[in-house]
Symmetry: C3
Subunit: 513 residues, 3 copies
């Protein structure tokens, strides 16, 4: 039996459109010629990243010395991909997920609640028949669901006589849920800015649902009910507007407040809200939010403190990608001073300039870049430790003893798939996806504690220490086992378990690995 192990370089920027946020987060690790193992099945050996044959149980690695050849191939592929209109690619995909991957690829079924997360999945189904005008809707629903009618009554829609029918239709048997296009008729500027994000890089609100979630992410390699929560935020890519302008008031003032961003931009993976809240900017917001006039546009001089939207949607620009990260956030270590990042840096200096001198803004960005750079020193040190465990064949356990991953093979993923992996990989994943990104976000938002002791650099220290201690134990035991002739036999639980079994590929390899 032959096992196919592929080794490939990631090239930042090329694979955004087919990468999940999660994999994106790990991508940064690879931008300095670092390596990534991926053991795939023999039938997959058309893998464009190349690969090499190896005997079972023996992992061979190869640092690509000819990576430019692949880069050329990939560049061409990327150009071709870019030439494909995104919308038509989406259209071809419906019904969803035919081009997905993972254990659930063929059987993934959107849970019923997805109808309200993605208007394309909504099927009207209610006992009321008839065609109604807006006033009739309001009259009846004031009794049935009074709260949303109250919301509408205080909205500008009510003043402008934009009734329920404008967004949901008037035939009660054919009601629909609004899409961005529904709003576009009246709110052309905002929706077109939002749609510009489709071609503005990654991550982006407008890409959050379809390419990020449906086609490549958790939705297809975890039990559907387990990942509904992901879609609850990522739906901003399918519904769009009401993620921030909540139903049925659709207030601009509400969307300007940080609470509009909080439920998605918080938590271990993306602590944007907490980090900002903990900065002096956030402190002043907390002190003064009640005395602030939120009806004012997001323009210089109108607010005493910067909020999410003030900086990332200046002047109300709904293309947040344009106003957000430069240099791949904190998840990639790239040359942050390279020309391609200059425009965004200059934009940031302008945004900070409403309150701060350009000299201060520049110093702050320099510090941020340096802090990111230092944080990746730790990441690479940790990654080297994990790599060595694989090279020496002493990872507990080696990939072939794990249940196959969601791509259909065994992977030494360095944390990219953060379930059913050796805990040292999980530690590494958290080090990158949590501590390293938080170091960046803390620095970017001037939140000292976040950049250092609470979420950032000192957390990374903790992960590095834990990785060393875990690796040391593997090495000690392997040495003893070799000496006394008790070879390590990985436990069956790495392959099987009541939950783990649900994650396996549909058709396991015949050789029963």
């Amino acid at each position: 039996m032959m096992i196919q192990y592929t080794i490939f370089d990631f090239m930042p920027g090329f694979f955004d459109c087919t990468m999940t946020l999660l994999r994106f987060a790990v991508k940064g690790l690879h931008c300095r010629g670092s390596i990534r193992y991926n053991a795939v099945h023999p039938e997959n050996n058309h893998h464009p990243f190349g690969g090499m044959q190896a005997k079972p149980g023996h992992i061979v690695m190869r640092h690509s010395n000819r990576r430019w050849k692949w880069r050329l191939v990939l560049a061409v592929a990327a150009l071709l991909a870019a030439a494909l209109p995104w919308d038509s690619a989406v259209a071809a995909d419906r019904p969803y997920l035919s081009h997905g991957a993972g254990a659930y690829r063929d059987q993934w079924q959107a849970p019923s609640v997805y109808q309200w997360l993605d208007p394309n999945l909504f099927t009207p189904n209610n006992p009321i028949q008839g065609v109604f005008n807006g006033e009739a809707c309001v009259a009846c629903h004031a009794g049935v669901t009074p709260t949303i009618v109250n919301d509408w009554k205080i909205s500008r829609h009510a003043t402008a006589k934009v009734y329920c029918t404008a967004c949901h239709g008037n035939d009660h048997q054919k009601l629909s849920m609004p899409k961005p296009e529904t709003c576009e008729g009246c709110h052309k500027t905002q929706v077109s800015q939002y749609k510009e994000e489709l071609n503005a890089g990654h991550p982006a609100h407008a890409r959050a649902m379809d390419p990020d979630v449906y086609r490549n992410a958790w939705q297809m390699h975890k039990p559907p009910a387990e990942v509904v929560g992901c879609a609850q935020c990522h739906r901003i890519g399918s519904v769009g507007c009401d993620s921030c302008h909540t139903r049925h008031k659709f207030s601009a003032a509400e969307a300007r407040k940080p609470s509009a961003c909080m439920s998605c931009h918080s938590g271990v993976d993306h602590r944007d809200y907490e980090v900002w809240e903990n900065s002096k900017h956030g402190n002043i917001w907390q002190a003064e939010t009640q005395d602030t006039d939120w009806t004012k546009p997001l323009q210089r001089g109108n607010y005493r403190f910067p909020t999410c939207a003030y900086c990332h949607m200046p002047g109300g620009d709904h293309n947040t990608v344009r106003n957000t990260v430069y240099a791949g956030m904190g998840t990639q270590e790239v040359n942050r001073g390279a020309p391609e990042h200059q425009a965004k840096r200059d934009r940031w200096i302008g945004v900070c300039g409403d309150c701060h001198s350009s000299r201060f803004a520049r110093a702050q960005l320099d510090y941020m870049d340096d802090a990111v750079s230092v944080s990746f020193k730790k990441v690479r040190e940790a990654k080297r430790i994990l790599e060595d465990l694989y090279k020496e064949g002493i990872m507990e356990p080696m990939p072939q003893f794990l249940a196959p991953g969601w791509k259909g093979g065994h992977a030494a993923a360095f944390g990219g798939m953060n379930y059913n992996v050796p805990t040292i990989e999980r530690l590494f994943y958290e080090m990158v996806a949590f501590a390293t990104t938080n170091t960046f976000k803390g620095a970017a938002h001037s939140s000292g504690g976040a950049a250092t002791y609470t979420f950032g650099a000192f957390e990374a220290d903790k992960y590095l220490a834990a990785i060393k201690s875990e690796a040391e134990k593997m090495r000690r035991m392997a040495k003893i086992e070799q000496k006394v002739g008790v070879p390590y036999q990985p436990s069956e639980f790495w392959k099987h378990g009541e939950y783990t079994d649900t994650l396996k590929v549909i058709k396991e390899p015949k050789d029963g690995r």
Copy 2:
């Protein structure tokens, strides 16, 4: 020497009245015929759950195939228990703790501060003599403790001329602290609803102090000063009203705000507040709380967003159990569609219906049920790994090498007693008590991040990975030790240590285990 190991099934619903919240949380693990080891002392072999003899150091397990016999016994016991009036049982217990268990059972003394946590313990002790009317109280205390007098002055009590004396008495040498009964004279509906909780299941505000804390929980197996914090929340079962309507303003509007629930319903064990705050419901609250009229009753149409009280105390119903969980929260995996849960499910669909369609509410509840179901697949997979370590006798260390637990024996508690246990049991405990319940709570409150990456399903992944890695090391070392003839001798620190020694049973077993 014989060691008695009992193995028994937990039967959900029967033992609420004598179980701690903590044990309750673990109970869910056992509702599908799973097992639980409990090694008790020989003198305890009258244990109603049966058991079997085993040689020392050899743990025998038995899946009860005849569990219905026990269920019958337990059902009868439960009926008998239900027939006992709760109040009289409480009365018989005072002075406190005579029927408790654990190392501190005979020596537990409420720290002095408990006088203010439990009105039954309060002893008036102050230098002022005399009998005063309310106006005299106010006149003097306006200087002594001005803040509480200010509070009272803006309260409805002041308007209604309900003075200090109404609750505390008028003899300064015989002052008392109010109990729910003190408030009942004027607030009959609310207090009687609160008292209904005594027979409404578990958990319940009205049962929080006496049965939960005094008789079975931490209060009796930890140093008293260490667990005062527990009682600071659980006092809602003894004082009742001022946990939410803070002294001495006793405002209904205040108690409607989520802050009233926050200090108890937050934190790792019960992240209700954070989970809700992170949902869109919480986001809208944050955006609009300052513009909300909190004097309005908790009725449909009165609030733009649902708060804790809006959903769990609809119309101001002070029996929160009636309006809370169905199907045992996320800590039990039961057939959530069973008829006994139908009434609560229907109630929830009604509550959601103030804003959402019943179809949406139903889909949301279905998703929640499915997410809980998936989460227990992980729990069982992890539990099987721990069980195997016990079966194989390779747990690090086996129970008999631990200091005796608070029930007087050694226990493989699977985390139920979360101190002085192998860290793998602690991991399991946290997996169930933190990650699994958060998955439920995240789904229940539509908080995607809580259900998945931050607190829920992905945290459970982390625990499962950590448990596997920890188990693997035990197995590898055991195998080597057997081969080379260096049997594992558990360290003395499992039995003794400056703190651990304080936790031991008063009278250790004679055989010195």
Copy 3:
């Protein structure tokens, strides 16, 4: 080759001025005759704490039985230190860090952004030439940086015609950043109270930057960009006023709100804000902050709830040390009832007395003292386990196999230097610096969850369990290795790694340890 290992007792209170906050946190471990290992280089054997010679690889410990001798020496040293005026010591130090320690001691360079964190480092550098009066500043900056001009316009400074020039000068080529002395002209009482802190003990706002950060702490043993976040809070010791009264409004009302304290007094190391927020005090604040008149002085009867400033700056006293901890916070176990702590205890009873009886306040403080006492039982139990690993020579790895620490030697620091240490030391560090202090803070702020399950006592249980499990593995492996003759060879990664190498002392010891 000789290796010098020194063993010394810490004596609480003596070394404040040269200790970092971090080391301070650990100091408490040592106040009952406990020991601390510190392996220093031979050239360092003038260490005032004494020491003893030992063979390489063999650690010798000594419980000082003659600690009173050292105490005398130290007392004299402390008196001498106290006699040195702090200001002149600071002055002698500039330019910064010449007297520092650690790997970066000779090469530490304040990143550019420090100019805005420390007015002593600011160098004016802008293209505008000329001397301007305040009105000209305002006229021009209303366009250049409008937000700060708006802030100034609503400040009392504007009313009082205190223009930009009063704090920054009027020559655009010689602008400066204000120091506390700048404010002192008008705000004499507040600044002098703030400066009193310099001699009021540790920690103190006024000492936060220079002695704590520049001379002894992270700034000198971590890459500069990694620790900018530390200085963002600690700058309160160099700039002072605008940490709480934010630019350019400088509002007293703002500084009274808890948000003013939050960004520094939160997070894993010092959860003051979260702990208070989670208490009933914090709950009422959350419920009523919008209806509170924050322009009122911080005096009894003016507020319904206590905030950070209400208790720790009563009457607006800017010497927070006077109104803060007694008995060394929760990081030291001292005789908390000793006479030296009596004044602060009495003060606290007075502060609580605005709302509570003195009897309640006393009971609460007693409980707090007892809870701290119990928490240190766990700390000592854990420390004993670590000590034994060192005594037995089985720590994974022993200090000499680690990269040299920032003081130029190998240290068994018990967590004091929380990077590149065995993970068991990191666990111990977190147990003390996080769980133990939180137990204190939870009790001090009446936050039950913080004192117990979420941040405090139960977290300490978790750390203790993890420490036992980690120690047990070291012991088992060492025993096996000895039996089979495979001595443990610590991995190279303990000494070298891309990040670890940046932390090493400039000049490594010649013997290449």
